[in-house]
């Protein structure tokens, strides 16, 4: 007499072992490959599949992802601490020039400005933009 457990063991152990024949293998594989080809012909390659198709494209895609991620991280890190944009300070020579022009205008109006331009041109010529700060100050001091 067999118990249920024994019966289960008997059924499991007596599992039939069969093997397929060469003819069956050939028939199944040939038909399966044909079905596979038919399906592949219908499926349009997606963008991801196209990228993954070649090694060079995969590397390029990975590089782009890394660069973009890096840029986003750097931007996110700097954005919260960055102060609101302030008016940029002018270069010292330009600031001095502006102050000088303003003082001249306050003292003598357009005529005084006109005289200063003329004196500057006479003194330094057309190459005044290449002069150093010291030369400019020397000129404005009249030395």
């Amino acid at each position: 007499m067999k118990s249920t457990e024994d019966m289960e063991k008997f059924v499991a152990d007596a599992k039939p072992h069969v093997t397929t024949g060469d003819a069956m293998d050939k028939r199944v594989l040939d038909d399966s490959f044909a079905a596979m080809d038919d399906t592949r012909a219908v499926i349009k390659p997606s963008a991801a599949a196209t990228i993954l198709a070649s090694r060079a494209m995969r590397l390029a895609a990975a590089a782009v992802i890394i660069v973009v991620t890096g840029l986003l991280l750097v931007r996110d890190r700097h954005t919260p601490n960055q102060p609101a944009p302030q008016p940029t300070a002018q270069a010292p020579a330009r600031m001095l020039s502006m102050m000088s022009l303003r003082t001249t205008y306050q003292r003598g109006g357009w005529d005084a400005l006109d005289r200063q331009f003329r004196d500057t041109l006479n003194q330094f010529g057309l190459a005044s933009s290449s002069l150093s700060m010291q030369q400019l100050l020397e000129g404005s001091n009249g030395s």
Binding site: M7, F10, K15, P16, S32
Partner: protein
């Protein structure tokens, strides 16, 4: 498992070598299942053929949720059930059923195991198809009741009761033949 996932991944990318390896790996077990369920070698071969051709056509979109063996076993079981329904109309009874052939290595062991398999085949043939299906899937293909229930589209209680009735009947028939 990783090897199986890799095979499926390669299969989805159109690798015929992957499909061939999947077939080589599972063909004998699937043929045995179909043969046990249908008791007809040519019908069983047709079932395995149809299952693999259908499987091959899913390349690129196939998504594996459990094990590949379980998936293919259920495909064979479903296909065998359809074939069995078609066959039922023209079936002439157990006398016409084909005895499952077994291939074993070693002459003495081969004879003993072949005899056991033949005996089991005779016993399983006495079960209704639904009970035989559950018993074979659970005991020969190590599928869980939950998995079988999900694939068959029935409740787990139904699967468990089919299994229980099937085993009781097998035990009863076996014991009656031994005591005779």
């Amino acid at each position: 498992m990783i090897d199986e996932k890799m095979l499926v991944w390669r299969f989805n990318r159109g690798s015929k070598d992957a499909l061939r390896r999947i077939y080589e790996k599972y063909k004998d077990g699937l043929l045995a299942l179909a043969l046990t369920l249908l008791r007809d070698r040519s019908l069983a071969e047709d079932v395995v053929h149809d299952v693999f051709v259908s499987f091959a056509a899913t390349t690129g979109t196939f998504a594996l949720s459990g094990t590949l063996k379980g998936y293919l076993s259920m495909c064979v079981a479903n296909c065998a059930r359809d074939r069995n329904r078609l066959k039922a109309g023209r079936d002439v009874g157990l006398e016409a059923a084909e005895v499952v052939d077994c291939d074993f290595d070693g002459p003495l062991e081969s004879v003993a195991r072949r005899e056991e398999s033949r005996r089991l085949d005779d016993l399983l043939a006495c079960l209704p198809y639904e009970q035989r299906e559950v018993v074979v899937l659970h005991l020969h293909h190590e599928m869980r009741f939950r998995e079988i229930a999900r694939s068959l589209g029935v409740s787990i209680n139904t699967v468990q009761s089919r299994y229980r009735y099937g085993m009781d009947k097998l035990r009863s028939i076996f014991n009656s033949t031994v005591t005779k």
